[in-house]
Symmetry: C2
Subunit: 147 residues, 2 copies
DNA sequence: ATAATTCCTATATGTTTTATAGGAATTATA
DNA sequence: TATAATTCCTATAAAACATATAGGAATTAT
């Protein structure tokens, strides 16, 4: 399951997506609208900024905003940032690979690994290519919003 | 990612699969062969027994054994027993469904949900129909072992 | 009887997740 | 320039969960 953090991130980002190019959005507004604990959200947004997903402006009338068009923000990047690996086992992870400590057989012969590699590939098949825009409620936005 | 518990369960079960119909296998043997902490394994095997996956016999020369042929033990059952939902969000879970607490829109209109439903379906597509036998190193066993 | 095992409940230990605190820095604007 | 509203940053608290162990009761073969 996704952590609360990852879910909060998704909801915050879709909210910011709705306000794309509408200026700086303060944390408290997002927190209130999406029912996310404000201080926790603050930490999440900070992380997203440091990862180059969000921009921010401090001071009065400041806030956060998307650095790229929602179509250009990859869903899989958000998931990995918040929760780490997509794969269910370290030995089949693309970005967080670690060798298996339990398996008595070589990796390339392991059937456990083979199957969990299939699972990972099936998951990536779905989410790679998906963007923040796909997660948003597109109907709510003007036609010219979509690239 | 799978918990250590789920990984231990898989390894213990494949080990028992290798010994299918070879009598009662004591916890300590499994623990030693698969490098699993014995007391933790004990709790896991107990759970698998209560779920009807394993049988056991107490006393001298006792131990655990598979109640069904490895082909008849569903991979997905093991994963759900050990780690709960397959789905990444409660609102798309088949067996552990819970409504979304954050989403402002009705479920059937939510694009977040739509995508995570796709992910779940892709995952289930791979693992439903897979059995313990698929996780085992079949090559090690006599031909007549496979149904 | 003894030894080897499972059974069961409780608890300890460690780690991660979730959440909050609080003050410094920044900025708009009155 | 003072004020208010914000982000920035580090630290820490609190809660939940995962992992692991303890220890004795019950069972069984020999």
């Amino acid at each position: 399951m996704l952590s609360a953090k990852a879910q909060y991130a998704i909801h915050a980002l879709t909210y910011l997506g709705e306000q794309y190019q509408a200026g700086y959005i303060p944390i408290n507004q997002i927190a209130e609208k999406r029912k996310i604990p404000a201080k926790f959200l603050e930490a999440i947004l900070l992380e997203l900024r440091k990862a180059g997903v969000l921009g921010s402006k401090a001071g009065k009338n400041g806030g956060y905003y998307l650095l790229r068009h929602p179509r250009q923000i990859e869903m899989v990047q958000i998931l990995r940032l918040m929760d780490g690996p997509i794969a269910l086992l370290p030995c089949v992870s693309k970005k967080f690979y670690e060798p298996c400590r339990l398996c008595p057989y070589p990796e390339n012969e392991c059937n456990i690994r083979r199957i969990f590699l299939e699972v990972r590939d099936a998951t990536l098949q779905v989410i790679e290519g998906k963007s923040l825009l796909d997660l948003m409620q597109k109907e709510d936005y003007p036609d010219d919003f979509v690239i």
